[in-house]
Structures are given as structure tokens and as C-alpha cells.
């Protein structure tokens, strides 16, 4: 089980801020494929990965990264702080 979190318009498209996901995905990209296949709202949120960023256990990472030992995955658009 892994905690998956969504922020900003990703959260709005999916309709919830976080969920527990049962997955055997080895990488972030595999997890994204599993989520996309679930329902159209996920497919809509993950339509263009170049518009998304991913953090693993609260550290910025990338879609090729391994999920081994990861407890928390977060998807969000590029950050707009400051």
C-alpha cells in the first residue's frame, strides 16, 4: 500500500486530495499507467506527464524513479511559490 497525494488542478481533476493505493508498480510510470486505466478522471489528470511533477516521500523526483521503499507519492503541476 502506498499513499498517493494530489495537489492543485491534479487534485481537482481526480476529485480527492489523497488515497491509499494497492499497487505492485515498480516505478512511478507504472503507477501512473495503473491509475490512468482506472477511470476517465485519472486519465484526464495524467494526460500530459510533461505538465506534471512528482515527489517521492516529499522529495522531488521523476517518472522513471523506483517506488521501492517509498511510502508517499505526490503528483502536482510545476510549483508557483514566491
Amino acid at each position: 500500500m502506498i499513499d498517493v497525494m494530489y495537489f492543485a488542478w491534479v487534485r481537482e481533476r481526480i476529485g480527492e486530495p489523497r488515497e491509499r493505493v494497492e499497487t505492485s508498480a515498480a516505478t512511478v510510470a507504472e503507477l501512473v499507467d495503473e491509475l490512468r486505466a482506472r477511470e476517465p478522471r485519472y486519465a484526464a489528470a495524467f494526460e500530459d506527464l510533461s505538465a506534471l511533477r512528482v515527489a517521492l516521500d516529499q522529495e522531488l523526483s521523476d517518472f522513471d524513479a523506483s517506488l521501492e521503499g517509498v511510502r508517499e507519492v505526490a503528483f502536482f503541476p510545476p510549483m508557483t511559490g514566491g
Binding site: T80, G81, G82
Partner: protein
């Protein structure tokens, strides 16, 4: 070094008078305050979302990197989240150093990285009720390139 992530307003005057006080080894304090802008006069409010936990870690890492690159006597970052109105203060950064070049450069470095590497997202809500997530700018990402070592 102090980092605060909060919904409440802050008093930049009070923050600055309390900043790096009582130090005689300082030659320069630089501060920057970011304010909600409404150039078109159509903005009702801005809502800033963040990623609790990661936000503090990311800002902490940016501050740590700044203190590694410049000799800073002190450093302050305050960033608000939640609903903000035009004219409200969003955030402030202050740096203190023996010399002004270090204080200016470190403040700019902090601002450039906070823009693109701290997990905040801004949503604009106009007076007619339409909403729009603010897109990251290519310029913001380019701004990081000048700091590459």
C-alpha cells in the same frame, strides 16, 4: 535561520526590526516582500495551496544551500498559504551578511528557488467567479540556470 509557513498575515516592519538584532558583525540586511498583484483590476482573491511537510523541507533545503554558498549571518523566510486579497503580503525573505553583495545575491537565490522548488500553487479567483491556476513561467525555470555551479 528561520522558516515559517503560515496563513496569518505578518508585520514586515516588526520582522525586520527583530531580524539579526544585536549583531555587530553585520554590514548588510536585504529583504524582499512579495505582494498579491492585480494589474487588470479583476482579481477577487488568490488561494495558495501547499504540501504540508514537503514545503518546510524544501524551503529548509533551499536555505541550507544559500548558507553553503554565501556567508550569511542570518536568514528568514515567511510564506503564507490560504486565501489572500490583492495588496496582501504573500511572503518575505531577509538575509544578513557582513557585505551587501552576499546579502543581495542570497536573497535573489532564495526567491528564484522558492518560486520553482517550494511546493506552493496559486489559484486566482476573479470578481466574476472564474478560477484559474497560475502557470509556472519558463522564465522562472530559466532563472535557476544562472545559479548552476
Amino acid at each position: 535561520m528561520k522558516v515559517r509557513v503560515q496563513t496569518e498575515a505578518f508585520d514586515q516592519g516588526a520582522e525586520l526590526s527583530g531580524f539579526a538584532q544585536g549583531r555587530s558583525d553585520l554590514g548588510a540586511v536585504v529583504s524582499f516582500t512579495g505582494i498579491v498583484r492585480d494589474e487588470a483590476g479583476t482579481l477577487d482573491r488568490m488561494e495558495i495551496e501547499h504540501y504540508p511537510g514537503m514545503t518546510e523541507k524544501a524551503i529548509g533545503a533551499i536555505v541550507e544551500e544559500a548558507t553553503r554558498r554565501w556567508s550569511l549571518a542570518d536568514c528568514l523566510v515567511i510564506h503564507r498559504h490560504g486565501p489572500l486579497r490583492p495588496g496582501d503580503q504573500i511572503m518575505m525573505v531577509a538575509t544578513a551578511s557582513a557585505h551587501r553583495v552576499a546579502a543581495f545575491e542570497a536573497a535573489e537565490f532564495l526567491m528564484d528557488y522558492l518560486k520553482s522548488r517550494a511546493p506552493f500553487w496559486k489559484k486566482e479567483i476573479t470578481k466574476d467567479g472564474s478560477t484559474d491556476w497560475v502557470d509556472a513561467k519558463v522564465n522562472d525555470e530559466d532563472a535557476l540556470k544562472r545559479w548552476e555551479e
